[in-house]
Symmetry: C2
């Protein structure tokens, strides 16, 4: 896990080359939010799935970097005053707190473009049809039927009373779509068959939702020091959460069941899927 | 020209299908800023270049829509209070004035993703290698070495005294890169040879800069009614402009010279490039 975290850090560091920028402020803001932090859950899923399906190693860095850059851009924009208005992220001031709102908006915009550029440039060893498929899958995961759509549901539902089904739909798009892409892109790069892709897709849906439930639980009972951000923000913003709708104990239970379902879907795999299994368990056991 | 304006309007209208959205607010904000207005300069350049090089008709709609969606997303984000803080665009209230800042940020984000999705989905008649090339070119035109980079230079230079060279560099990235893409993408789809692409690239660079000079001139002497926005905004924001650096008459002269240079580069073409010639002249003659 640590080896892969170092590997994606190094790849992102090379991709966001400060020497290569027309204006230092922009690349500085992009580097500030992208480098040196985070669990790197999405890149880890990319590498773990790559292992499980035997995807060509060369394509995995580009895929991992692309999904992480989409994720980071969404965090930068999410944290803006007009959105969640967060001051802290991963234990340090948010992008707009350091570089100003205008630069934070731009840094997010540029990261989205760079995600596509990286995915299209750095997968040269892969067949053109497959590379097209990867870029399409990412574009859809990031857009109205994926992350941006989920974010819009989140916005529209603030102060409203969502039920559990609506809450799950929102998360399935807002965070689930990109987590799903983190598994389906390497599966596609490894030419996994339809059944394998369906199993991996279900695995991703289960751990994506479990991840979100764990996030909500940690927002209630977590340690702000470990989390690198304030707790209780969800209830302050009157956001619907799993603990608020189900209670804490039932939320933990639901997350555990989802992880079991994720693991069941990995049954046909041997030890090559052990990192995927580890990540599923890690998601509900993590303290931050 | 009008036929193509109607054609891109209809294609964008179908692409931004309100029935197809997980949340109505998001697609409404995207449709508000994308449909029913604008000169459609970039789509017109796509169709005109497609004519000149004989590119397959089916690919042109997707390319035209993709560059226009990137353009519209940049306008939505540019108009935000943290950026240029504009209330009017194309004669109507800006996106954030109608839908709020959060939705405007999201609508821009989703339009960028949709631009890539559309370009990758709707060019199915084109060879995979070419489609990859189109998506790459667009990603680079939108990113740090293109539009986002130019926007960052613009931000960094507010209140600073730019010289003409720096001002041209800024515009070459901020608006020039996407105008260049509007010509180079259809050229690539039509498998134009290297010399033709070089000529079309120079044509695009010249008219891109001429367009910007004309914009600056209109901001000084234009009719706010025709422009659909307030005039004099540049000097209020202490932005460097061509009229401020060169004077009005020399700015007009420079724009005219650039259009001549653009037209010279079209000399090897016959009547199939007449729409490109028309657009070059239109750019410096337009009143809005």
């Amino acid at each position: 896990m640590e080896a892969y975290q170092k590997r994606i850090e190094a790849f992102l560091d090379r991709t966001l080359d400060p020497e290569d920028a027309p204006v230092p402020e922009l690349i500085a803001a992009m580097r500030y939010s992208t480098l040196g932090g985070g669990k790197r859950l999405r890149p880890l899923l990319v590498y773990a799935t790559g292992q499980a399906v035997g995807a060509p190693d060369a394509a995995l860095d580009a895929i991992a970097a692309a999904v992480e850059m989409i994720h980071v851009y969404s965090l930068i924009h999410d944290d803006l005053p007009a959105m969640d208005d967060d001051d802290l992220r991963r234990g340090k001031p948010t992008c707009h707190k350091v570089y100003g709102e205008a630069s934070a908006i731009l840094a997010g915009d540029a990261l989205q473009a760079l995600a596509f550029a990286t995915l299209l440039d750095a997968t040269a060893g892969v067949h053109a049809d497959t590379r097209l498929g990867l870029a399409k899958e990412l574009a859809h995961a990031a857009g109205i039927h994926g992350m941006a759509g989920g974010q819009a549901i989140d916005l529209a539902s603030e102060g409203q009373s969502l039920n559990v089904t609506d809450l799950e739909t929102m998360h399935r798009l807002k965070t689930g779509a990109l987590i799903r892409a983190s598994v389906l892109l390497p599966a596609q790069a490894g030419h996994a068959d339809a059944e394998t892709r369906a199993r991996l897709g279900t695995y991703a849906d289960c751990i994506g939702l479990a991840f979100q439930i764990r996030d909500d639980v940690l927002d209630v009972e977590g340690d702000p020091e470990l989390l690198g951000k304030a707790c209780g923000a969800d209830s302050l913003l009157e956001k619907a959460t799993f603990p608020a709708l189900l209670g804490l104990e039932a939320s933990r239970q639901r997350a555990a069941e989802l992880v079991d379902e994720a693991l069941e879907n990995l049954q046909p795999f041997g030890t090559e899927a052990d990192l995927l299994r580890f990540l599923a368990r890690y998601i509900v056991e993590r303290r931050h």
